[in-house]
């Protein structure tokens, strides 16, 4: 049992706030507690929520232990210099010990300077650690904190400001006006590091070094295309007053915005404002565009979509509907939408669904045609036309937390208990698995109701483990190994274990961790040898159901 897990469970168990609907956020809250030790400041908008990223790494593995004893002082970090912020972070972290969560978060938000942007726009596209606003934070103060110990992730976070302009370029094939395909390229995303930066677009050149199409941090790196019809300095994208603009900077073969040429050859154009969905063409096919190198570039612009990546009415509704899946007959489907492909109702239990990043949901069967299209991995939502790169890395950051409710509801408690028992007392788990096996004769009603917490715990545990790793290195790794060991024996019972868990809600409080434990093996039940896994096999996969869990999450942002 590691100190950090213990701490987290201790603090969480004191948490007063129940809330079925908050499981996801709670889980994120939970993991944040765990690894970043600042539960009071999870509010997505508050500056202070950034601080926790720094504290664990700098304070080392022992910091969680300290927290236990600490009494709650919600840290008004934002006004303080970095050093005191650093020290106050662990202090603040003893969330739950005696102080209402809401109080602390309220305080933290009060301490937020007024010039703090209220709506950060997480740049999901750039896969940024789109944490809460950092603008109030002078970058130099990060430096002392971040020396050495900070994992790359955390370091990244510190540099990201959430209120940044982001633009994405997608290849566009004008199949109706032009029979020839335009130059193919991977989707490009850019987030401006500052309002004054300009994105230069021109011909790809080896001299510029290897371009990174999708840098994870704000960047105004030039965008290069490998086509002879693109001039070395072709056009520029400029962001000012909340609006993206394009300007031809004297290209020879022209920049076209929605088929309109911006300027005469070799002439600089004025600024033209662009909006989401605009088509920009660079150059004209040369020599019939037979060769790839002579093809023009057609870009579909995506910008100003950040509202879609934040909690809004629509995706919150989707979230609550998905929670409905588990409620069986008692579920309230009144707000249920229809699958826009078959016009049938989505979000009934036992249907495979696909949810896009924009929170639109369809039956997988219905949407699969659009998923496995020639354009794959690009997917365009048939409802709102938002483009998504299906092959993009899963963004599993948890920074964006819904803060409309108190955090860390009581359900976290059982999880932690279980975590303790699972990681600490390995035999107990094995025994439990056996117990599950004994349960096998039970008819399995497979009530969705019980399946939902199941899934949720699943997710929670994934995050838990992830963050453990990140936060306090090797100690946790060991524990990981152990807990996976303990999961292994249950493999042989996986089906039974699973069904048993499902059919006996009473088991929930004591063994949620076993659920995923039983579940992971379940996924690969057909793998021979897995079932014989003995206690010393450390290979039990830790994150098997990860993508499934995260997919949904990412969509609900």
């Amino acid at each position: 049992m590691s100190a950090s897990t213990a701490t987290a469970s201790a603090s969480l168990s004191d948490c007063p706030r129940p809330g079925r609907l908050r499981r996801f956020s709670q889980l994120r809250a939970y993991t944040q507690n765990l690894s970043h030790s600042s539960p009071g400041h999870r509010s997505r908008n508050s500056l202070s929520s950034r601080v926790p990223w720094l504290s664990p790494s700098s304070s080392g593995p022992e910091s969680p232990t300290q927290q236990v004893g600490n009494s709650t002082t919600p840290g008004p970090e934002s006004d303080q210099p970095a050093l005191s912020r650093y020290t106050s972070a662990p202090t603040a972290s003893s969330h739950g010990l005696g102080v209402d969560t809401q109080t602390s978060s309220a305080e933290s938000s009060r301490s937020t300077p007024p010039n703090e942007p209220v709506q950060p726009s997480p740049n999901v596209m750039a896969r940024l650690r789109s944490a809460s606003a950092v603008q109030g934070r002078p970058p130099p103060t990060d430096a002392p904190d971040s020396t050495g110990a900070i994992p790359a992730d955390a370091a990244q976070v510190t540099t990201v400001t959430s209120k940044k302009a982001t633009i994405r370029f997608f290849p566009y094939q004008d199949t109706f006006q032009s029979s020839r395909p335009s130059l193919p390229f991977v989707p490009i995303a850019r987030t401006l590091p500052s309002e004054s930066s300009v994105i230069r677009v021109g011909r790809y050149s080896e001299r510029d070094g290897i371009p990174i199409p999708n840098p994870t941090e704000p960047s105004d790196a030039p965008v290069g295309f490998k086509s002879k019809v693109v001039s070395r300095k072709h056009c520029e994208f400029i962001y000012s007053n909340g609006q993206w603009h394009i300007k031809d900077v004297g290209s020879s073969s022209g920049t076209f915005l929605n088929h309109m040429r911006l300027s005469q050859p070799n002439m600089v154009s004025r600024l033209y404002s662009i909006k989401d969905g605009d088509i920009v063409q660079l150059g004209i096919d040369f020599r019939g565009g037979e060769e790839m190198i002579f093809r023009c570039v057609r870009i579909r612009i995506e910008c100003n979509r950040s509202w879609q990546q934040q909690p809004n009415e629509f995706n919150k509704n989707t979230e609550s509907l998905i929670k409905n899946l588990g409620k069986g007959d008692g579920a309230d489907y009144s707000g249920c939408r229809e699958c826009s492909i078959c016009l049938g109702s989505v979000l009934r239990p036992y249907q495979c669904l696909f949810m896009a990043a924009c929170a639109h949901v369809w039956h997988y069967k219905c949407i699969s045609r659009l998923l496995h299209s020639p354009d794959y991995p690009m997917f365009q939502c048939p409802n709102c036309r938002a483009f998504t790169d299906l092959s993009a890395e899963v963004d599993d950051t948890n920074d964006v937390v819904e803060n409309d409710e108190g955090k860390a509801p009581t359900e976290a408690t059982p999880t932690n208990d279980a975590a303790e028992s699972a990681s600490g007392t390995q035999p107990a788990v094995t025994a439990q698995a056996t117990t599950n096996g004994a349960e096998e004769q039970q008819p399995t009603p497979l009530e969705p109701h019980t399946e939902e917490p199941d899934f949720v715990t699943d997710v929670e545990n994934l995050h838990l483990q992830d963050d453990n790793d990140e936060a306090s290195g090797s100690g946790i790794d060991m524990e990981d190994g152990r807990s996976s060991d303990s999961q292994a024996p249950s493999t042989s019972h996986d089906d039974l274990a699973r069904s048993a868990t499902i059919s006996i809600p009473g088991f929930q409080p004591t063994q949620p961790l076993n659920v995923p434990a039983a579940r992971q093996p379940h996924l690969r039940a057909d793998t021979p040898g897995r079932s014989e896994t003995s206690d010393d096999n450390p290979l039990t996969p830790r994150n098997d159901s990860g993508p499934l869990a995260f997919d949904g999450r990412a969509g609900m942002r």
């Binding site: 199949t175 016009l343 048939p382 036309r385």
Partner: protein, 154 residues
Amino acid sequence: MGSQKRIAKELSELVESPPEGIIVELADEANLYKWKVFMEGPEGSPYQGGKFIVNLTLPTEYPFKPPTVSFGTKIYHPNVTNDEKGSMCLGMLRADEWKPSSKIAAVLQFARQLLQEPMPDDAIEGRIAEQYKNDRKRYDEIAKEWTRKWAVSE
């Protein structure tokens, strides 16, 4: 064919609660993909009083491909071809504009709206569009005459 369920659903919805001035039936009971639509000329338009037959054809790939709409009744309109086909050009039916989430009801309502307000800038019949823009009176006259001639059944 996965589309049949959706088409059947849309059809029954349209039959049960038809939009204003639009009556829908299958051209052939055995074929879900060919619809016969009776569209009344909207009030205030030169097509008022006329009853136009609109043929709606659904591709087997529906809803991933747009339906096609054509007028079975001759009509004097900038956006409908003046030939036997009577094809109608609807922006939302162009393949790149089409969204699977669009429904046939919306298509038909849009088509009827087009009778009310032709879109001369997006016309098929350039001559009629010219006339619509420059000599509205004459256009109204001819459209009314054609409506009387072809679309009013005694």
